[in-house]
Amino acid sequence: MNIIILSALSGIILMFSGFFIKNNRALNILSVVLFIGMIFGGIAQLNGCEILGNSFQNMVKSSNYGVSFFIVLAILAVFYLLINKDQIHKVGKHVGEYYALIFFSFVGIAVLAQFTNLVSMFLGIELLSIPMYLIAGTAKKSMKSTEASVKYFLMGAFSTGILMLGVAFLYGATGTFALEKLTTFLPQFESIYYLGWVLIIFSFCFKIGAAPFHFWTPDVYYGTPTVFTSYMSTIVKGASFLGFINILQVLPLEGENIDSFRYLLSAIIVLTLFIGNFGALKQNSVKKMMAYSSIAQAGFMLFVLFTISTVSKEALLYYTISYAISNYIIFYAITVLNKGNYQDFAGLGKANPILAFSVTIALISLAGIPLTSGFMAKFMSLSVAAANEHNLVIIIVGLVMAVLSMYYYFKVIVQMYFTKGKPKVKHQDGLTNFLLVFGVIIIIVFGVVPDLLSRILNTPMW
């Protein structure tokens, strides 16, 4: 329970420090320090040192994978806060509350990492999403931001309704909310049971932005202030996938259910990839292109759900890390450039070589070209699907869509290096430069030696 308590406490601390601390830099440093505290709390929890371990009546139970994923997300959040340290306070006045909202969403992530009960799953989803509804609307003077917030809230509430209906059906069929007892159901309620599962799957597909539940993603990501889109598209998506993979572990698949689940997942993946990639093609704004690209990347991450095993969990964690770092770099570039249209990137290669180089490597990683971690991530997630040879067709479809994605990613590179222009960007300071280069190094190192983490810790991850 360390991580839940620590994140909640950090959120409260930040919420009230907003009154006393007016220096934005100090708030940023305070958040980073509290995140590091959360990381240490998580590591302590992994080693068995846990406060209030069993006091939630088995609704939340510490699991190695969940806590490790949480620690990774917290490290990514530290990276996010450091790289955006000068951008967060430009959004509005109540800076302390923005940090507090980020911490409160981490409480939701902590619950999603460890839930063992359908009710706590619902709790985790809501704790994750409600701060995001607020964060989407933080640019109060912008109509787009308000629209994004309202849209996100309405559609999120609707999807939570679907989730609760699914939970209700599962409860009706099995008589329990607890995950370990969820696999036994009364035979006469079989159709309700599976209907409940399908509704839960749909609700999670909404949260990750998979088609055909993706309609909120472009508008919400475009309307939110770019700093927070960066956070939403990486950490919230990763946490939603964490919850998804945790609940799907319990899904009983035998006999013909395996094929039914495969068809359902394949249909969702194909739709997601098509809509994500074709939608991004026609955009004029890099920010909206990145929103559609996040739909497409979610499509690739969905490949890991074909067979839930340690391998697919490792692939998901890896994909989250690779995707998050690339997204941070690209969204940082969009934030500091004027409006984030393609024309604003023109001539960046000459004007700001470090930023242009990092954005190039990040785009190459998202496109999935070898030597970058993005390729390894795609390779790993597609390999999970390959165990069943009927999946070859969908693997080919996925890879062809990846070619399509290279077109719109490389349009940015064309603007940066092959087009002349004078972008209005000032050179970033030393720490940001260091972080950009560090991100590039991580992308390339993980692209060449993907099991670096396992080797350093000398253990398989779980």
């Binding site: 391998v311 190459i364 070209i369 070898p370 030597l371 390729f375 390779f379 790993m380 597609l382 390999s383 999970v384 390959a386 165990a387 069943n388 040879e389 070859l392 693997i395 080919i396 890879l399 062809v400 990846a402 070619v403 290279m406 077109y407 490389f410 064309v414 290096y417 092959f418 030696v449 993907p450 099991d451």
Partner: protein, 472 residues
Amino acid sequence: MLLSLFIVLPLVVGLILLLMKDQKPLKWLGASISGVLLALILFLYCQGGTNETHFVKEWFNFNHLKTYYALNATGLGALMVLLSNLVYVLLFIYLASTKQKFGNNFYGLLLITLAGLNGVFLAEDLILFYFFWEIVLIPVYFLIGIWGSGKDKIKANMTFFLYTIFGSMFMLAGIIFIGFNLKPNSFLLEDVQAVTATKYCSTSLLALLFLIAFVIKIPIFPFHTWQPTIYKTSSTPVTVVLSALMAKMGLFSVVTWYIGLFPTQSEFMPYFLIPAIIGLVYASLIALSANNIKKIIAYSSIAHLALIFIALFTNDATGYTGAFYQMFSHGLVVLGLWLIVDIMERRYKVTDIKSISGIAAINPTLAIFFMLFAMANVALPLTSSFVGEFMMLNALFKYNTVWAVVACLGVILSAVYTLRLTGALLFGEVNKKFEGKKQSENIGVIVVLSIISILILYFGIQPNTVFNLLAH
């Protein structure tokens, strides 16, 4: 251990050159690096079959599958490494001795491409091969995009890049299928062969996934449409790399990874070779009617490579050896041709066949070399291309007589369009403004061109040298 030097040295030096992009261009650095590598491969040849030519080290494990960082320099791979370093040495010496306006980043990107090319030819592990196969595209993309010319340069660049990667994605699907469905012991060539060679013939779906990637890269009709545009758009040194080396990358992969993994030829194989035959004649006909010099040489390249491609499937030792030999020789010949085109482009602003004539009178040195390379392109006896062409046609004749006749038609057409090219450019009336002035070339350029000519003639007379190299 020494083998990694082929990849690491140009990569590191290339990256350093990229960082020095605003400083004075270090023109001779590239030549010396590739010279070092050339010496290295010749040294390795002299070593014979010692451990130095094979290097295996564990790379990463995933999902119970091991991959290895395995490099292997034997047979065709070593010959191709020799070709790529030789071409690069000559190219860099040429670039250094003429007045070019390229900065350090150009040379750096060229060196990084060399690292990738060496990696493709040396890799013995399927994932490592795929890595280098794709990595080569990135520096070439930037080379064409920044230093290319032409109004739709960006569109042509994108087309080239996406078309090639589109093919590679099918290969990646095949690799993933092999790795995680067929589950070999590791991704090393012999382990993958053990899994695929018995179960999948050469026209099964899995094999076709691999074939499409290679066929787009070489290119073979009807997947060739990206090639002439991009040869015209890129600057000539980049075109040298593309046509002399990257095309050979595709052919080499057909030998090692397509025929290597799926050796059993099914009876449908001839149907897949028919497009190549059609491409031979088709490309020759277009070269005959084209007016742009770069387009003519591009289409002639398609025609020659189509013949090499077909010869690989003739199940005949002469055919194989001829094809390998021709890969080496075509690399040299086409290097010479593109260098001549570059000289003419920069000196006389020649793009079209009709834009200038009578070069033989103005610049006899250039004319001699041009004629020699043109005759090598036609596969005249005494040049190295003749040896390869003869062996390939011999094997093709035994395989399918009709195709051999069609291929000979292609050879005749190649003579026609080459002579048309040389006749129009070299002979005829001299332009007024050049009259009376005898021009000659830089000493460095003459050295490079003579080295190429001597090699072409030497290998034409004494092909055994290359055969011995192949046997190593």
